[in-house]
Amino acid sequence: MADLKEQIGKLCAAATFDAEGEFLLVEVPDAQWHALAVALKSELHFDQLIALVGVDWGETLGVIYYMTNTATGDIIHVKVVAADRQQPRLHSVSDVWAVANYQEREAYDFFGIVFVGHPDMRRFFLRNDWVGHPLRKDYDASPEKNPIRLDDEVREDYTCSWVEDENGQVVKRVGKVFADDEYVINVGPQHPSTHGVMRYRVSLDGEIVRKVDVVSGYIHRGIEKMCESLTWPQTLLYTERMDYMAAHINRHCLCLCIEKALGLEVPRRAELIRLMMDELMRLSSHLLSYGCLTMDQGATTAFFYGFRDRELIYDIFDRTCGARMSMSYSTIGGVVADVHPDFVADVRHACDVIEKNMKEYHQLFTGNVIARNRMIGVGMLSKEQAIDYCITGPSGRASGVHCDVRKTHPYSLYDEFDFDEVVRTEGDSMARYMVRMDEMLQSIKILRQACDKLEQEGLQGEFCAKVPKMIKLPAGHWYQQVEASRGAFGVYIESDGDPKPFQKPYRMHFQSPCFNLIGVVDLTCRDNMIADLITITASIDFVIPDIDR
């Protein structure tokens, strides 16, 4: 860390450092930020921007950028503060890390920070006639300001960007998203294949897709805003409502982050149960993904097969957690209740059945000549693009990026388990599909080992640490990543160390993998056909509530 500090100090003299926390914190003024970003990427190989967190510190507004070096796994974070609260402006780094494009639009939407040099500075989630920026601390939430509007958005086709002219003055330029003579069709918000309330505006040339404009936010619930008015244990609830196919994993992540902040030690047995639940969740998610991908290509029977086997896993959740969808099982310090006495036997049974049925899936779909023609070579995403757009999870690994958080930054007990990181190099839809199928086998492998370990620990036993009744975090900020079903899920929490009872988070940010995944829809679908758009989005596999947090 000291080494990095020295190197960054050489790159930017104005940078100040704080090595106290878990990752090195660099603070730079906005004027030097863009140059430092370029240097960080080109010279220190911080090639992936993993999170962009806008924060309102009361007096000032700013952004914290988390970035990683994909070769070494080093993580640093950079804090950049906007000088003027009334007219906050920062320099855009969307030309350095492509993923910043949508991330900065989100920060603009919620904090009103204008990113100078960003090519497309529209709101991302909210309507363009929304008044105010909700995550600011001085936001006026009264319903009169933003009534429920029943009319269409006006000037939906227009975009704008702020650029610096030759005198250093920032000027606004207005442009259009599509040209007037383009044949634009709406795919969504109600469409069978967008897997939720998602809308693409697709410019077509016959059957060929020329441009995709992602319009998001139809089911945005403002989870980050709501968390600011809840106590720490209450916020856990919302993690399961984001990617509901990674409910356990997301909740595990927030628990880990809060436990890290509290310095709480979780019993080994509880951690083992959490890990098993995570892997069951991953298995169920990949089964769903198999089903949806096959159905989007018209193979409805395969869809039913995928759903049939998910029932086994849901029955396990049902018996232990009492719920099938939103299990609310992990808690700060462990899990809320001990597992069902038959838990291990059920898990072993489910593993056996799914492993056997996998052969049938491959026979029915993977080997099918139509399926292969539809997927091989369709929706190419190179390794460089995957890193640049911060594509993690199965989709990233299909492009050859070693991005499995369970291997790169092991958390929980994953370093005790013997499993392989499934990586392929083709980067097409087939590779993304196959990575998921192979990962299911790895999850089964982990689950079997975990079953043995849990039997050693005892089928019944300690499942939660002693946790104080009132959870109060010291002042500071923490970031925790886990490998969710669809990629690296990150949680940023900031506490002001408020000594009063019922302490609430000062700022909580969820870095969802699916948000980054939609960033490559336009890139991968361009110049492919309409049918490929469906294949590609299905193979990238996102869950809409995870984008619209």
Partner: protein
């Protein structure tokens, strides 16, 4: 074998005896129309149930279960539902064409349906160019689909209609060529003549290799012609929501649905007439006892059984395969099916002229 034409000609003579000939002809036409439409709608209902059960069985589901014994009344509930639904009229459609389109589609399917003989003499009229007539009238359907997509004035339906036009016109060639291959073997275009020629041995076996190739091409092309999976691109649910009939509701949508299922019966029926001997029972040369037992089964049952068997194959394909993409669909037709079909036709012509087929004198 029982010939239904003895009954019909007796009826014809009787009617002519009791009323003037113009009235007799009119009465016969009305009777035929009533029977035809009755058979049409009953078959459509049977087919919808058939598809739901087969699909449920393939997908490890139970299928319809609740309405009536083993779900057998489900279809009546569905039909009443669709009959009582509101027909939604959109603002910016071309009203006349919008309403005309479903009827065109149904007309085409009724016309082709009317040509099928259900047994010896059990048909409306025996043309000497019966097969040719079927190919001709079945093409009207594509007009209805194109009009439906165009007049709805929606981007999705237009894309669906254009896909449909490209697909149906392309695959009609392959259907035509494979039918022509059989006509070449039979030496007649009359449907009765075609079936009679199979009394000793079905064409699928008689014409051996070229007939089997023609049969496979027919199955693929007929599937595409029918807009059924894996060629359901015109209504590709996951891309175009419902393709050309996105904007239709109520019974107008029901008519498209009806036509789709009847077309399935029609293509299965044609396959059974051309390749599987129509109403002819299965005869194995040399096994006289077996042949005599087979003769006891009525011809109509043979025809329906074969048609239902072919339909099962079509359903099996539909529920197992993913959907092809538009360029792959066109490539399959123009690069593979049609050239192979043409070569196959030449091979069949050689086989026929050289008397290389089974049962040749």
């Amino acid at each position: 074998m029982f010939d239904l034409s003895s009954v019909t000609s007796w009826l014809d003579e009787w009617l002519n005896g009791v009323m003037p000939s113009w009235l007799a002809t009119t009465t016969e036409c009305v009777l035929v129309a009533v029977f035809l439409l009755l058979a049409y709608s009953v078959l459509a209902m049977i087919y919808i149930m058939y598809e739901r059960w087969v699909c449920g069985w393939i997908q490890c589901r139970r299928g319809p279960l609740r309405v009536g014994p083993a779900g057998s009344l489900q279809i009546f509930a569905d039909v009443f539902k669709i009959l009582t639904k509101e027909i939604i009229t959109l603002w910016s459609t071309d009203k006349f064409l919008f309403f005309l389109a479903p009827f065109l589609v149904v007309t085409a399917s009724v016309l082709t349906f009317a040509c099928l003989p259900w047994g010896k003499g059990f048909q409306i009229i025996d043309f000497n160019i019966g097969v040719f007539f079927i190919i001709a009238v079945s093409s009207i359907g594509v007009l209805g689909i194109l009009l439906a997509g165009w007049s709805s004035n929606s981007k999705y339906t237009l894309i669906g209609a254009m896909r449909s036009g490209a697909q149906m016109i392309s695959y009609e060639l392959s259907v035509g060529i494979s039918i022509l291959t059989v006509v070449c073997l039979a030496g007649t275009m009359s449907i009765t003549g075609l079936v009679e020629a199979q009394s000793d041995c079905w064409f699928l076996f008689k014409g051996h290799l070229p007939a089997v190739i023609a049969f496979i091409i027919y199955i693929i092309a007929a599937n595409a012609e029918n807009n059924r999976g894996p060629f359901d691109l015109p209504e590709a649910e996951h891309e175009l929501t419902a393709g050309y009939h996105t904007e239709y509701s109520g019974i107008h949508y029901g008519l498209f649905y009806l036509a789709e299922y009847l077309n399935l019966f029609v293509v299965s029926g044609i396959a059974s007439l051309l390749f599987l001997g129509g109403w002819m029972p299965l005869h194995i040369p040399g096994l006289d006892g077996f042949n005599a037992v087979m003769d006891f089964i009525p011809g109509t049952l043979w025809f329906l059984g074969k048609a239902f068997f072919m339909t099962f194959i079509f359903m099996w394909i539909r529920w197992s395969f993913p959907r092809v993409r538009i360029d792959q669909m066109l490539a399959l037709e123009w690069r593979y099916l049609m050239p192979i079909g043409l070569v196959n036709l030449v091979v069949m012509a050689i086989v026929v002229t050289q008397n290389w087929y089974f049962g040749a004198n």
